[in-house]
Structures are given as C-alpha cells and as structure tokens.
Symmetry: D2
C-alpha cells in the first residue's frame, strides 16, 4: 500500500532533508501559514530559511505575477533587455541605492545564492590578481565547489569529495569568547610576512551567521575587518543572502554597521515570494567583468524581476515596514529572553534573526519536533544544530507571531520538564 509520501521515498534522492523533519505534504501557503493537503495549518517559523521574509504568496506580488503571465511577459530572456528587468533596476536604484547613498553595479547571476557567491569570489580574484579569500569559522556560503571552499560546515565540505582550495579560514567575531579580539589576531597574521597567510583577494563575511548559529558580529569588529581589507588591498564581500532583505531590521544587514562593502551578494528573499533569484552588487570600479565572463542560463529570472520589484515598492518605499520589523524584533527578543533565562540558555542574533542556544543538538531537535506536533514549523542551526532559530516571515501578523512563540515556549517547557523528570 502506498502512502501519500511513498513516491518521495522511492524516487527522490537521499539528499532530501527538510521533508524528514516535516513529513507531511504541503499544498498551499499564505503569509506565515503553510497548509497541508489534509487541511492542517502550520505557522511557519522557517520561512524558506529567510527566503520568505514577506511571507508566502503575498497577494500583490502574486497578482503582479499573474498579470505578467497573462500578458505573456517574457519568462526567460537569458540576459537580454526586458521591460521587467528595467523596472526592477529602476526600483532598486530609486528605492534601495539612492536613499542610502550607495553606488553599485548589479549583476544577475545564476539564481542561487551559491552562484552569486561564486561570482563574487571570482570577481575579487580577478580584480586583485590574488587567489586567497579569507572566510570565517561557521560561515555558510553555499555548496558549489568555489563557494563550498568558503563554507565552514564539515559535513557539506566532505560532500565535495576532494580538497577545496583558495580559502583561508579565520575566527569570526567572538569565536574564542568575548575577551579575545579576533580581528586583532587576523591583523597580526596579515602584517606578519612569515605567518603563512597569502595576501588576500577578499574577505567574505556574513554580518549574522545564519547557518553557523546566528552569531552576530559587532559593528566594531566589522569595521575592523573592513579596515583590514582596505589596508591589505583586499575586497570586502558581505554575503547578505540570509541576513539581507530586512531580516535584521534594515534592507541590508550592514547598513547600520559603518562599513561599505566592495561587493554584496543577495538572494533568498530578494524575489519577494521565494522565486530563484540572485544578485551581486559591486562598486563600479570593480565591475571589470567581460561580457558573459560569468554566465548562466537562468541569470535574470524575469518572474522574479516582477515580484522583486513589487516587494521593493510595497515594503521599502517608506520606512514603515522597517519600523514594524524592528518592533517585532524587539518582541522576539523579549519572548526568547524569557525562555532562555528560565533555562540558563543564551540568546543569539539580532532583529528578526534570532535564536536560543540550547547547547545540545538532540535537545534542540526535540524542541523543534514538539513544535511541529503543535503546528509550528521551526528549525535548528549551528555547528551541532544546537540553536533553535526563529525565522518567521517579517510580515507575520502579530497575534500569529505571539501564538507561534507560545508554542515554542511550551515546547521548551515540555521537553525540558520531561528531561528533568527523566533525570530525577
């Protein structure tokens, strides 16, 4: 007898993963709600790993896409000029770049974050004539070989089946505890001509490490890294794929940090409704690509241009949304603090990009499992999957957000009480 999920087990590769945690078939989704085929509704605190910052199927984006489809708008145009691309470029320039006083060129790479990272690393090497990219402990930048070299996770690195090269690993902010200034360490190694660290083409850094465990770098540290890059003739790449598009409370996660990256990568929530889409921004003086030098069939997803433009117009034309996100971020902080304090756990992250470090992957998994049973989809991150991470849509209604947090809190209580009971 076949169950509704038999075909996945028999035909889909073992590489499938999230479906193992949430073994039900989803058929529809609206804002922060995922709906299974049996009608069960789930609140989504995973949000496509921050690809759904504006929730599922935002009605305006959806309508814009239906309209575009109905008018036979170009869906696939390689990197030819299309009206949809032009409109996106105009919105991005007018809503994102200009108000922030930013001057960048935009490159639409293959529509995955990893592809944007590959392009960014290639460009930095091309600009500097150096091969060495400095990446950080617990950084996550994708799993294609160039990006994977910069990714810290050993499980993913092992998947490459060969040594990865071209990257030097350095400790992230706070990696050795609050008293050790890792930027000063890196400075010492770069100043030392015999340290064994080749002159860097670039630093690639996340301001908050999503997969790495919601480690948030301080503005001081980021500025020190930016200064190091400048001093040593390296480019500063901010990988804003997970932290960008409002997740931390501003459009770019680095806006308030006092740094000006040379290259920025965006993907995930950029399209607004979860369509594949990726972007590399580079300072104009570094835009030394030849035509199609980094290419790809799906660079410039026109459906995504349509929805992404709608997202910019709807959420970023004024500061209202930013204020709302910051308020929700405060709520999140307060609710998670209460839980963390109760059990002696520590908080991680900033904005709407926060989690609780339970210190134990099994415990965190048990909590997430308990949440799912109560209708909440939530996942872990961190080196040992020990962080319970909240990635709710930024647009989640406040009451649904609070109910989701209630479920989360109850799950902590349930699991930890059971543990205590067992131990007793």
């Amino acid at each position: 007898m076949t169950s509704p999920t038999t075909i996945f087990d028999t035909v889909e590769s073992e590489s499938r993963s999230y479906c193992r945690s949430f073994p039900t078939v989803f058929t529809a989704a609206r804002n922060a709600t995922l709906i299974a085929e049996d009608g069960t509704e789930y609140t989504d605190f995973l949000a496509g790993c921050s690809s759904l910052n504006y929730g599922h199927n935002d009605p305006d984006m959806k309508q814009a896409l239906i309209d575009y489809l109905s008018a036979d708008g170009v869906a696939h145009g390689l990197d030819m000029f299309t009206g949809a691309k032009r409109a996106f470029l105009e919105s991005f320039r007018d809503i994102v770049l200009k108000p922030r006083g930013m001057d960048y060129r935009l490159q639409f790479t293959g529509p995955t974050g990893a592809n944007a990272v590959e392009a960014a690393m290639k460009l930095a090497r091309k600009v500097t004539g150096r091969h060495n990219v400095i990446a950080f402990t617990n950084g996550f930048h994708g799993v294609t070989n160039g990006a994977l070299a910069a990714t810290g996770n050993g499980y993913h690195r092992g998947g490459s089946g060969m040594p990865l090269s071209g990257v030097t690993r350095m400790p992230y902010d706070g990696y050795y505890g609050p008293d050790i200034d890792t930027a000063a360490m890196i400075a010492k190694q770069l100043d030392d001509p015999s340290s064994g660290i080749d002159a860097p083409a670039a630093f690639i850094v996340e301001t908050v490490q999503g997969e790495g465990g919601l480690n948030a770098a301080s503005p001081e540290w980021l500025r020190a890294i930016a200064a190091l890059a400048k001093k040593h003739g390296a480019l500063l790449i901010v990988d804003d794929i997970q932290a960008g598009c409002g997740r931390t409370g501003t459009f770019f996660s680095f806006e308030t940090m006092g740094i000006e990256p040379d290259i920025v990568t965006l993907a995930k929530s950029l399209s607004g409704m979860g369509l594949p889409f990726a972007l590399v921004m580079m300072k104009p003086e570094y835009d030394i690509w030849g035509p199609a030098e980094h290419n790809g069939t799906f660079r410039g997803n026109n459906h995504a241009f349509v929805t992404a433009r709608e997202a910019l117009e709807k959420f970023w034309a004024t500061s209202a949304f930013m204020g709302e996100v910051q308020d929700k971020g405060d709520l999140l902080h307060n609710r998670l603090s209460a839980i963390a304090d109760r059990y002696g756990f520590s908080l991680r992250g900033r904005g709407m990009f926060r989690g609780i470090n339970t210190g134990d992957g099994d415990l965190a998994a048990a909590i997430c499992k308990s949440c799912f049973e109560q209708g909440l989809i939530i996942e872990t991150s961190g080196p040992e999957d020990e962080i319970v991470k909240v990635l709710a849509p930024l647009t989640i209604p406040r009451d649904q957000f609070e109910r989701g947090l209630d479920i989360l809190e109850e799950a902590f209580d349930r699991v930890l009480t059971k543990q205590t009971a067992k131990a007793a």
Copy 2:
C-alpha cells in the same frame, strides 16, 4: 537624455552579454516569437539557449501556473513535500522513466545547470573515492568553480582567477579529425599506469556539445567511453542540460546511443517554460547522499514543478511530438545543407540542434547581425564563435520556421556576397 536602455548601461554589470547583440527591450513572447516594446516581432532561433524547447509561454503551462498561483500553491518550500513536487515526480516516473525502462533517483539541486553538474561531480567523487573527473575538449558545463574546471572555454576558465583542479581534459569524438579514434587514445592512457592520468571518478560528456560548436558524438564513440568508464571503475555522467528535453529528437539525447549513464544532469528546458530548474538523476545504487549534503535554498522550484509536469504530460505522453521534432530536424538539415553546400561550409549537430560552421567568428557574427535586422534572433557557438547555430523552439510553427530559415539563408547570401564584392 536617456534612452530606453540607459539604465542597463548605467546600473547593470559589464557581464551582461546577449543584450549587446540584440539591443532592444523585449516585453512579451509567445511560442517562437519575441515582441519588443515598440511592437516589433522577432522569430526566436535562440530559444534561451535551448531552455525554451516548447516555446515562450506555452498556454497550457501558463494556465497551470496561473491556476497554481491563484490557489496559493506553495511557491517556495525548500525541499519539503509539496503536492506540486509529488505530481511532477509521478509524471516523470510514468512518462519518462518507465517507458524507457530506466531506474533512477531524482535530486533537485539548486535550479541552475551548473549546480546540477557540481552535484553530479561531487557525487561521482564521493561514490568512487577518487578526485579526477575526465572532461572533454570544447565541453561546457557551467561556470561555478567545480563545473568550470570541466568547462573547456578559456575565457570562462580565466574568469575564475585561480587554477582549477580535479579535471583531466581528453579529446572529444572527432577532435583530431575523422581518422583518429580519440576513445582509443583515452583507453591507452587509462591502461598505462605511467601515463600520468589519475584513476577517474567519472567521465562527464555531452552527446552534442552545444557551446563547444554543435559537435555530435557518434554512438560508437559514446559506447566506447561508457565501456571505458565501466572498465576503470568510473561513473558515466551525461550532461544533458542543453541536448536533453527533446532537442535532438528524443527526450534524452542519449536514448538511441546504446549507453546507460550512471548520472544524468538536466536543466534548461526541463521546466518547460524557462523557469529555473535543475535535476540530477542517478542510478539508485549511487544515491549515497546524506540528507542535505548537497543543498541549496531554491532546490525544488515549485512553480517549475507545475510547468514541468504540464510539459511532460503535453509533449511526452505520446510519441507524436517526437515525430514532429524529427521531421523539423530533417527540414532543418535540408535547409542548412543547401546553404552550407553553396559556400563550402560544413554542417554540425543533429535533430533540432544544428548549425553551420563558417570557420570564421567575424563572419558568423555578421550573419547573426544581419538576421537580427531582419527580425530573426540567432546566435553563434564554437571555440571561435564560428558556428551559426539554430536553436528554434521545437514547437515553432512550420511556416514560421521556414520563414526564419529564409531570413537565415538570405543573411548568408547578403554577407557572403558583400564579402566577395569587397574582395573583388
């Protein structure tokens, strides 16, 4: 004063390319026709580099997607179970695999061809515990670092800014002319323990090299390569990203070649209407991935599941479409032969994947430019961009196809007559 394309020049990266050949803004597209914002219609012999085998905005796929959107179908679900994915898996199993007696597991990678290639190469290395992948002269497999190592094109390779490793290059079928059996050469090197070729993890091969110049391998050669792979414990990866999905007349380009690849990569036309989508097929015994070992945010594009399923149901449930493609392929062959014969050029390719080798990149460019002026979008390929390549939608109406070929023929005549005139 700004022109309608000023913003592209000022905001988009220098990496943009096709727009340089076709400097007009497209706003709509139907089947084989691209429509510019001034209303000019162009016949599309580029078809998204074979991503639009079923044309632009196929009405059934479009409707299926609009319906899905209207019902708030899940757009982004990471790799969770969705109804759309299940329906696609069922169709792929029933329409593609079963009738061909094939047994493969399907892995939805990040939605670019390069990502599928990266996954395929990683998997082959993981399965064999070897690092060396054999790739071929003029092969094209993408530009992320792992795939780029397998790509022959020096311009793209140079873009990486660092030496690429893990790949040994071997001559493709016919590379040294018709009298030299390159498979026998490879056999000699692999049999020779002191040849300097490390034991291979895999061979990665296109049955017809699209970017490399429409070089079509013979069935005998492909079988020899398959036998070599087997003999030496290597996996055979067929990169069917450009040649697959009907381009050569059958769903897979290798169906009639007498080989059984261990791994197959698909992308481009797989979604049916040009949406980003990629797939790795592997024999079940090689599906040794751990969960999420190769992951990516946009793996499993649900919109693409919807349209891809529609494409399978519509075009591949019976053999009618295959017959139609083969007929058009014959027409294409006849028309191109006539042109080639007139000027002493040679033909390349097979099925609806053909071109004329003009032996001169400037000449080929002039022909394509002349076509564009007459309303035909067509491009070149090959090491020196010397091949004029016809990649019309397989669904192109016969009369539009013939008119397009008329334009092409006239362009050859116009450009070559002018050349002769100049020379005289």
Copy 3:
C-alpha cells in the same frame, strides 16, 4: 678587470644569497673557523644554518671519509645494501634509539631537509587518508612545493608561482602573546564540525622555529598539540631538521618535552660534517610505504653514512657532549641576556639555539655587517629578519666562543651608539 668574485656575478644565478652578506671567497675551514683565500680567519656563528653542529672538518670524520675513499668504498649505491649504511643503522639504533627507548623505522630520503619533509607529509596523508596538514605561523620546512605549502614565509611561498594547497595554518605557541593559549584555540576549531578546518592528516611542528625567529615552544604547548593530534586521528610530525642533532642540548630537541612524535625529520647536522643527508623516522606501524614509493637518486648518501656514524660514536655514545653543550648554552644565554638587557631587547630560543630580537631588520642587518667586519660570521632570522641569531658550532672552543660573543656585543654597542648619536 675581473675580481676574484666576478665569475659568481656573471655565471651564478641571482638566487645566490649568503655570499651577498659575506663577500669573500672561503677556501678552508676547521671547527668554528672559516678561512678566506687571503688567509683571513672568521669565527663561524652561522654554522651552515645548524648543519655544522660539530664544526667544519672534524678530524675524525674527515679521516673516516678519507679512509673510506681510499678503500674505494661505495659512494653511490641508490638504496642498495652497503656496509656503510649498515654501520650507520647499527650506530643509530644503539646510540640514539635504544638508550631513549625509541622504536622507529628509518627512511633515507633524497638528501635535503625539504625532501624529508615531503616524505613525512606524504606518509601522513597516506596513513590517514586525509589531505590536510596543520602547520604553524613562522614555520619553515623547505621550498619544494609540498613542503613550501607548510612554510610560512611569504617571500618563499611567492616563489612557487601558484597557490599552494593541503595545509591549514595555525598560530604557534605564544604567537598572540603570553596570555593566549593557541593550543586551546586549535582545539576549539578542531572540535567544531563547522569551523571549516578539515580533519587533519598531521601536525608538522618545530620545537624551536629557527628561520621563524627562534621561537621556542613550551613543553606544555607541545604536549597539548600532541594530545590534539592523537585525539583527532592525526600524526604528529616533529621537524627536527634545524633544532635536532644536539642544537638545543639533547640529540632530539623534543626529548625533554614529554612527547612522542609519530614521524621525525632530520637533516642538516645529521651527516656530521655538512654532507647532504636526510632521514625520516616513523613509528613502525606507520611504515606503510611500498618499495620506492617515495624514491630519489641520492637517497642514502654513503659518504654521509660514514661521517654520520663517526659523529654518533664520537659525540653521543656518552653524555659528556650533551653536558658541554648545555654549559655553552648557559654561557650563551648569560652573554645574550646582558646585551639584550642593556638595550631593552628580548631573548629567544633555547640551548645553543638562541638570538636577540632587535625588533628591526635594518638594525639586525647592521649588527651582522659590523660583526663580519670584525671577523665574525653571523646572520639574522625572523619574519622581518629582526632576530640576530647565534648558531655557533656546538664544538666551538670556549675561548673562541667568548671572543665571538665579545665581537657581537661590541657590534651591538657600536651600531646602537651610532644610532643614538644620529638621533641626538
């Protein structure tokens, strides 16, 4: 008109170096004295960079070699059995290994330290099936590509003309100052599955970094590294090429450190009189080489077997020599302390392997130049060549040693007084 050194300038490569600091032609040498062709005698505080721990032309070694030559002893025998090799093996076993309770197999690699390091790294990779070797800041292990990857010096690394791979760099003991435990840092990174450090095949470490600036690791730190290696399934390679053969006061520099390396490399003073000779020692369980798997024409230099055996018999059969070296090491310490204290410099190193950190490469060079003018050959080391390093033969007569140190002290005074005068 040609000078006595014209031919060097016109025929020898620009890679020549020491001759630039000591521009005179040497023709003879005895113990700690080098004699120029004009009869000038120099005291040698460089000692072939620790290759002449027993001085130049030790009369017993010299006589043994003359006898061997006179009897037509086999000079070159590839790795065939020779009487000279057997005698060396017996002496090494009986004088070096047995009294120390050590059990190692001996591999005679190509007769350079770099070749021994290459063999050691290859063996560790072969044993563990891993590629990643952990090397340290300021480490120096040779300049062939495998060894060079482990060498920290950027000038030498740059000479390779390509990225070097297979090595992760970690901070040496004390690298970040006395308060930071770098072994604990490495432990954290190795314990963290997402730190981005691949599982190590080996650690390669010098107990005192000669070229790196006479940095001496503490026994505690070395034991911590040894424990880390064991915990993580990596081999511990001690590169004792410069610090071994008595330089620190014991035959092996690690004897008193409480560690048992899995692999040890020796070269430099091993032959006793400066003949090319290198050795890899490995624990028997790791001797998994196939015959000639790491080979080389000059592996097993028979002349060196003869002199090396004489060195072992003469200097290491009893503990007298060790006592003498330790006494001289104390003298050296006291004399250097006096100088360093006078000028606020710090001391480096241990045993007869010590130097003064002047903090300034130009200053250190001026001091060495001044010494040479007074008949003392001495050199610098360290990342900025800022360390004045004393590498006198261990056999230097005490009065000559003191006179040499007098010259050194005067040079410090002369150069630093001049500096002060200038500044005033």
Copy 4:
C-alpha cells in the same frame, strides 16, 4: 640468529627497493665493478640510474676529493663563495658552455634532481605568471609534490596522498604509434581557445625518457615542441637529469636536436662520482630569482664541486670521450639488436641509454634476476617494468662491457627457452 642484512629488515623503512633485487651487501666499487663484502664482483649495468656515468670511484676524482679533504677544504658553505665553487663555475663555463655557444646562468639548488625540477617549474611560473606546466606521458621528474605533479608514474603519484595540480599531461613522441604526430595534437589544443588547456608556463620534457621506458624523442618532434613553447609564450624546460652528462653520447642530450631550452636541469652524473648535486641552467633573461627565493641548506655541495670539476676537465675538455661513448653506443645497439631480433622484441633509446622492450614485466624481471645470479646488475624501466635497460658506466672497459652483454644475452636465452619449454 641475525644475517648480514637483518638490520635493514628491522630498522630501514619499507620504502627501500633496489636492495630487494640485489640482496647482498656491497662494500667497495671501482669503475664498472661493484664488490660485495664476500668478495663477489658484479658488473654494474645500473650505474646508479645514470648517476655513475664515469664509473665508481674514478681515481682522479677520488684523489681530488681526498686532497680537498686533507686541506680542510670547505665542505659545507651554504651558498657562500668558495674556491671549489669558483673552479667549478670556470670549468663549466669554459668546457661546457663556451664551446657550445651557450649562455646560461647556473643555479645550485638542493642536491637532488627533484629539487632542480621544482626550481625550474617555479621559475617558469614566476617568469610567465602562469601556473600550467605541460608534462608528458611516461615522464619522470621526481617525487616531491611539485615535481611529482609532472611525473607520470601512477604508483609514485599515489604516494602523495592528495590530488596533484598545476600540470597538464600530453602524449610524448610516438605515444600513439609512429603514424600519429602528437606535437600536432598538442598544437591543435593550444590553438583552440576552448580546448580546456590553460595557457602554459612551460613544457617540461626529457629527450629520452629513462624511467618511462627509454622512449627517445625525434629531433623533429622536439623542435616542434620548442616551436610550440615559443609560439605560446611558454618556457621550454629540458629535464636532462638522466639523459645528460654524456649518456646519449654528447654532454647534453639535446645538443644535436636543434633546440635551445630556456631552462635545463642536471643532477645524477653531474658530480662525476655519484655525490648529491643538482643544477638548474636558465637563459640569463629568465634569471629573475630574488636572493634565496628558492633556497636549501645543501645547495652547492662543495665536495661535488671538486669532483664535478675533475669530471669536466678529464672527460669533456676534448672530444675523445664523446667518440668513445658513441662507439660503445654502437656496440650496445648491435648487441641488443641481435637479442631483440631473435625474440621479436623492439629496441629503445639511443647512445649508451638503451634497452629491450620485452613487453612483459615478469619476463623482464626474470631476465634481470638471472643476470644478477651471473654477476650482472641490471634493472628494468617502463610503465610495466617491461624494458630491460642497460645503463653501464660510459667508462666501462670494452671487454667488461662485452662480457656483461654476454651475460645479458645468455639470460634472455635462458629465461625465454625455459618459457618456451614450459609452454610446450
């Protein structure tokens, strides 16, 4: 009970090799004769793999070295000026370079062939700013990681325990049989911008591949390779370590080939009596090394300067020796031809660097074993060790040479008759 070789089995590493074929302890050697400790005399047709072209313990070289030792000549001087080095440079300039109209700078690298190869490859990369070195099937250049990447032998490559990079493999002259011009193949790939072969920094080639099976390149092919190097901006490195110093009948193996290498490596017989010694020669315009950029403790072995100079003065000051070698080469050719013809085998090599291809490694081993039993030391080479190779000292007395060849011939007859008998 211990045998005379027990200590080798118990203390020396498993990497030992030639001693397995010749399990006796040698104690003395004169010209072409090796003498075991039991007094048995062996004729040496191995000659230290061409390191003993002038035989063992040439009396003049020996005496020169004894005189040098007796006068306390500098044995180890790093790369300081010594009288011995100067005398060698003068002789090399006057006897080798000037008469041949050659202009090269000399670099004394670490005293192994591999070290010279590493330096040569590094220099070519530094000069061109490219990483890719083209090496050939069945080439042998040493086993340190940089050189090993250029070595074809899979057994040795496997010893590195990691992927080797920076080298592209191309087919040597005649690799695919006499009718296929491999230089033309390489030309095609280098002319093709999409062949996947990165622009080369250098070609590294042996004129006769010693370890690879005594494959001798034709002058036409070598000139074609030289022309390709020039056309594509690559340096031509001739690795003359095994074929040089007279082995093929002239001092350099390429003298009569009509090529002018940019870089030449020498080692093996350069010292004249088998002492470790290596040399890189580069055209002056490529001598862009910085001081000590490629360094090493034993660079410039002064004992070898003494014996090498004696070898040049004794054997190369006139053309007499060259004539003698050519005569012996003819004799060798005639004797081997007779054997090869008898059994349908083919000849390989040129000059005094010849062998018989038996096509079967077991057969070749049996023949060599049979020779050893009759007092002749001889070895195999080739991918399957199927070539019986004659590497007699060039100075071997003619009658001893003929007696050795008699033994060889009898061994062929004995082994092959036995085989035929078995088969019958």
